[in-house]
């Protein structure tokens, strides 16, 4: 697992010497710890943040360190608890509200869309809503239709919200710190299968800016933009492609809104080919938006339009059984084949990459 996060760390953290190898959930915890220490107005709450499992470890130890006023569980009332977070944010606090599944956010859309996103604008700057909403995308082991949704595009659609989905420990920590310091509501999307992945992470506090994409691996033949857990699959695809001499550039937008189109377009100008792999459904998704803006920006500059393709969840509810679930998600091999076809043309002879080891998927059996 450390391959890609390694590369992030080495390529980007050259001058931050003091790194340690930690897992995604530990990186998050480090962010909470450092920000709560720095700013007494930061507090963290939500269902189960204060139990002995501590949201898969990401909040463990915080009650002991910061007390029950600043780290507390709630009743099962997602809608009102979101309103509570917004109110506290308007009053100058910096709440971090946690949902253990993104699917549950459908219960608090009214507060997020009608109030959090709009308050600063509608009240003409009289209030700000510096709120972080942590939310986890589930996957695998029969979690199924109501525990596996990735709904980032619903939030990207709404002016006033920011949306981030870091794919590795380094960016999880830096993005969380940036999100906590941001004066807007930020939907912070974690992926359950990333929780145990390791990466080299600076021990000190740092921000990964919201609105800046990262070129994870440079390449020349095709640009692959991948989101959230699909970054791991894209990196697997890159290896397969490498083995047959195709050089893929892998970009992680990290921040889905604001969206760093400049980095993506610069890459596609070089490779002339863009494959977008979303960890979500396609229709009206992040993939549609990235495709659309790429075309618009190329047209604006009168450039020859690149070849573009998208991959994402099958247009169905996520089934629980493993054979169907495997078909529901893109993976390193299907991504590699798609990129191969884009590079070699439709008439290229069929290619089947070898089976990957995918520890974070194949070995996942909870905890949920």
């Amino acid at each position: 697992m450390s391959m890609h996060t390694n590369s992030v760390a080495t390529s980007l953290q050259k001058d931050q010497q003091d790194l340690h190898l930690i897992r995604y959930f530990e990186a998050l915890r480090e962010a909470f710890d450092q920000e709560m220490t720095r700013d007494p107005n930061v507090f963290l709450f939500g269902l189960d943040v204060d139990d002995h499992k501590g949201i898969q470890g990401s909040t463990l130890g915080l009650v002991e360190k910061f007390g029950r006023d600043r780290v507390f569980g709630t009743p099962l009332s997602e809608d009102a608890m979101t309103g509570v977070a917004i109110g506290a944010a308007m009053a100058g606090y910096r709440p971090i509200h946690t949902h253990i599944r993104m699917d549950f956010m459908l219960l608090c859309m009214n507060q997020l869309v009608n109030m959090a996103a709009k308050a600063h604008y509608m009240y003409n700057g009289q209030v700000q809503v510096p709120l972080v909403v942590r939310t986890m995308i589930g996957r695998s082991w029969g979690q199924g239709g109501q525990h596996s949704q990735a709904l980032h595009s619903l939030f990207m659609h709404i002016p006033g919200l920011k949306v981030v989905a870091p794919s590795n420990a380094h960016d999880a920590k830096g993005c969380m710190i940036a999100a906590i310091r941001d004066n807007n509501p930020v939907i912070f999307i974690e992926h359950r299968l990333l929780y145990s992945t390791e990466g080299f992470v600076p021990k000190n506090s740092y921000e990964v800016p919201l609105g800046k994409a990262r070129i994870l691996v440079p390449g020349s033949d095709v640009t692959i933009v991948a989101i959230s857990h699909m970054v791991m699959e894209a990196l697997r695809a890159r290896k397969h492609l490498d083995s047959i001499g195709i050089s893929a550039e892998i970009i992680d937008p990290i921040s889905l809104w604001p969206l760093d189109m400049d980095t993506i377009v610069a890459s596609v100008q070089k490779t002339k080919k863009l494959l977008i792999v979303d960890n979500a459904w396609l229709t009206c998704g992040a993939s549609s938006e990235i495709l659309s803006r790429t075309i618009e920006m190329f047209q604006e500059e009168d450039h020859v339009l690149p070849a573009i393709a998208r991959m994402g969840f099958a247009p169905t509810t996520c089934p629980t059984t493993r054979p169907l679930e495997n078909l529901f998600y893109p993976n390193g091999r299907t991504i590699a084949v798609k990129a191969y076809e884009m590079v070699k043309g439709k008439s290229a002879k069929a290619w089947e990459p070898p089976v990957d080891a995918r520890a974070e998927i194949d070995e996942f059996k909870g905890p949920f």
């Binding site: 809608d79 109110g87 606090y93 002016p159 920011k162 807007n184």
Partner: protein, 319 residues
């Protein structure tokens, strides 16, 4: 009562006269906003807000003119907001349904029923945190209609507020109507206070809209919460909406409501009642002051420019 009656009278009259003035000029299209008037309901807003401190907060629904004024919201800015002008309390971006004046303790109102109730609890939570540092307990009053109590977030908030003993007062303005639908078609029973008591919350039910009674109830509730740092307290106030749900007219011909009930409430009008308690001089003087304030606000609104085009893009994101 010597100072209280004129004070409450003035506030109620200001709300009444301003709203009736809005109704009067509505046909000129100067006010380009759907208006939900509180005519007939003024004693609640005034009874609630009068005993509050400037740094206490009142949180509201779209029917928010009355509490905005009663809490001391800037009148000129309110009028300019209704006119869609740049000097409005929200620069013309909010209109009648989303009035806000944080410097005077008026939290932004919302056009979506129920939405502001949990937000008020969040503000109260913040005040509870603050009080541990400052030693001073501010409070929030969350106002909503009978319809608002039907939304799930109301119960979620009540439970949370009781669990965390938040420094807030809930006030249900029960006018027995949600748009045109009477309460009997929406509430299984009318035992709202009894229900709220099961959360361990102190409740009060005031069925005659008596402005002194409302004021006194809020005042002792506020004092209790300030002293102990612990709330919430719940108050249900019966009242009656004289005019149509939205817009400047009455709709008595529409035949969906009991006109005898209206007549009863009209007879019980707290503004008339307090007028009767004042000598003519005081009354006249207050009426003049109120008329002048409204005129002044109107002129301000008229003279204020519309927002410039670039305002469309300000405050989408905070920096």
């Amino acid at each position: 009562m010597d100072k209280l009656a004129p004070q409450l009278y003035k506030k109620m009259l200001l709300i009444r006269k301003l709203e009736l003035r809005l109704a009067e000029i509505y046909h000129t299209d100067a006010v380009k906003s759907p208006v939900h008037l509180s005519v007939g309901q003024e004693s609640i807003a005034v009874g609630i807000c009068d005993p509050l401190n400037k740094d206490d907060l009142v949180s509201n629904t779209y029917r928010c003119h009355a509490t905005y004024i009663a809490k001391g919201g800037d009148l000129r800015e309110m009028m300019a907001e209704l006119y869609g002008k740049s000097q409005g309390c929200a620069g013309g971006k909010a209109g009648s349904m989303h009035l806000v004046d944080m410097k005077n303790g008026v939290v932004g109102a919302s056009a979506v029923v129920g939405t502001t109730i949990p937000i008020a609890a969040g503000l109260a939570l913040a005040m509870k945190f603050d009080a541990k540092k400052t030693g001073k307990q501010r409070i929030v009053v969350s106002v909503f209609g009978d319809g608002g109590t039907e939304e799930g977030c109301f119960y979620e908030t009540i439970n949370f507020a009781a669990l965390r003993k938040l420094p807030m007062i809930f006030v249900c303005e029960n006018n027995r109507l949600a748009i045109h639908t009477p309460i009997e078609r929406r509430w299984a029973t009318e035992k709202l206070c009894e229900r709220i008591q099961t959360y361990g919350i102190e409740t009060h039910k005031i069925d005659d809209a008596d402005v002194f009674k409302i004021r006194e109830t809020i005042s002792s509730a506020a004092e209790k919460i300030r002293n102990t740092g612990e709330g919430p307290i719940f108050i249900e106030c019966a009242t009656y909406r004289w005019l149509e749900h939205v817009g400047p007219f009455d709709d008595h011909k529409d035949n969906y409501r009991d006109l005898e009930e209206y007549a009863r409430w009209k007879k019980n009008d707290q503004i008339d009642r307090l007028a009767g308690m004042l000598d003519e001089n005081t009354r006249n003087q207050i009426q003049q002051e109120v008329t002048d304030m409204i005129k002044d606000a109107e002129i301000f609104a008229e003279n204020s420019p519309y927002p410039a085009a670039e305002e469309l893009y300000t405050h989408v994101y905070a920096h």
